[in-house]
Structure formats: C-alpha cells, structure tokens
Symmetry: C2
Subunit: 172 residues, 2 copies
C-alpha cells in the first residue's frame, strides 16, 4: 500500500523547526538550468531516465511518470512520486530547462535531485529557489493562509554553490 | 502533429512587452487553495476531471495526464499540456490544495484555470503568485541567467480578488 504524499500527522514527518509550531507541508525547488547539452535536452528517453533516477537518488518513491517529445524541439515530463512530483520542460534550442522539484515529508531531499540533474544535463550554471508550500499551525492543525515563503536562493555551477540571496524564511 | 510547448521563435508567441527585449518563456502560477470541500479533494476522479476541464478552459491542449489517490487521504495529479503542465496535490484532512499552473506562449491563460479551480474545489479563499520562468534576451536569443521574477501576487475569495503585493516585475 502506498503511503499518502503527506504521510501522517506525526510532526517528525513534517519540516518542523524545534522552536516553532509552524510547519510546511511541502518543499518546492524551482530550478533553472542553463547552458545544458542540447542533445540531452531534446532526447525524451534520456530526460525520462535522468528524471526518474533523480527521484530515486533523492529518496523518493516513483508512482507514475509521463514524458513527451514535442516537434521540432523540447521535452516535457512529470514524475509523480509518493512525496509529490518532479517536472521538467526543456528548450534545447536555448540550452535551458525549467524544473520543479516538489516534495513532502522528510524522507527525501529535493536538493539531491537538483544536484543530480545539474550534472546529468551538463548544465554550465543553474539557479534554484526553495519555497515552502502549505504552512500549517501544528498546534491548531489549521492551515495558515498565505503565499509561499522563500526559504533560500542559490546559484550553482560545476565550481560549487554560491548564495545569491539571504531571504531565508521570508514571506513574499 | 503537436506543437512544441515553446511554439516557435515568433516574438508574438512569447510574453513580450512592447518596450522590452526581455521575454519569459514560461508563466508559472503557484496557487494555494484553502477551506476546500474535503470530499472533492479526496476524490481522484473529480480532481482529474476538474484539472482536465481547467486545462481546456484556459485554452490549453491536453497531451497526457496522470492522477493518483493516496491512502488514506490525498490526491496527486498532473496534466501535461502542449503549453507545459498543471499539477495538484491535495490534503483533504486540511481542506488544502497546492496547485501549479505552468504555461508557455500566449495561447492560454493560467489565471483562467486558477479561477476555474477555485470555484470547482469550493475554495473559501486562495492565493496565487505569478512567476516568470526562463528570461531571454530576444535580441541575442540568449537566456538571462537569473532566478524567477515575481510578476504578481493576489488573494482571491468568492467575494472577489484583492492585491496583496505590488512586486510586479520584481526580481527575487
């Protein structure tokens, strides 16, 4: 039996800060990959393979997946995981891929999927923004009605990562 | 033959500002729906239907779709459209749904899908944040390496919409 994407109400399964009663149901990494290998970006089988491998590498459980090649260029695809989803859209003609890595619970880490994809897409540079989705008051078990919170933004390259913003925890 | 999700390089097919040579390949609405009907959120067939209808209502072309019900609660699903994708994750136990509406080109409007979903999920309140993904210099046909840009944020209710931020065009 598959677990629900929000596994249980056990606080240890949520992204709980020790000193806080506010948790977020989801972590969402919006990733921008630049200067990628265009042949890889236009190959639907490779994209499906690396996205599936990225899901597994980050600790996720693959539930369903769908990938599609567009004519003349581009691939779109989604991997539904027990912990939410990973999605990609590629523009081979610009060497660019837009990727979303949305996970719930603490059993997987979307940043691992990001690092894996940056390597496998041969991305010369990349950005990610980590957002908190679905803020909840753990004490009242009520949702906190607000837009997403920006947890962090990073630029990364093969030379390593560099912080480009320090808006950790800021609501926007 | 299906069109690519980035239809062509014709500037009129991109989100071009008349006075700008910077365009964005994608529009991404991150939507948070609160106080929804929990029975709807936990019904995989209804969620698949309303997400598919939302795609069609906003002018998108459905390519593939996958929906999954988790035990004991929750639905995850994705509709791949020619113009990118729509994704949903529901937490019926909290009356909450996290939705992503990612479109390319000007043939469809993700805000229409947002409005449709707010009604069909019986959401008492909702937020959306509209992001620009994939900024490109139209003159050089080169990608501009940066995080997403925040185009707008809105809170909406059945009583109407209210602007909660004025960060239109701001880079974050």
């Amino acid at each position: 039996m598959l677990l629900p994407h929000q596994p249980e109400r056990d606080p240890t399964e949520l992204n709980v800060k020790p000193d806080s009663t506010v948790v977020n149901l989801g972590r969402h990494l919006l990733a921008e990959f630049y200067d990628c290998n265009s042949n890889i970006l236009n190959n639907v089988q490779i994209i499906e393979d690396v996205m599936t491998e990225a899901a597994i590498a980050c600790g996720a459980t693959v539930v369903e997946k769908r990938f599609h090649h567009f004519s003349p260029f581009g691939v779109s695809g989604v991997v539904i995981i027990s912990e939410s989803h990973l999605a990609i859209h590629t523009w081979p003609e610009y060497g660019y891929a837009a990727v979303d890595l949305f996970t719930c619970g603490n059993s997987c880490d979307p940043k691992v999927a990001y690092d894996y994809l940056q390597e496998k897409l041969h991305a010369g540079s990349a950005f990610y923004s980590e957002l908190k989705r679905g803020l909840m008051n753990l004490g009242t078990q009520k949702m906190i009605e607000s837009p997403f919170h920006l947890e962090a933004q990073m630029a990364t390259s093969t030379a390593g990562a560099a912080v480009i913003g320090s808006q950790k925890g800021e609501e926007i």
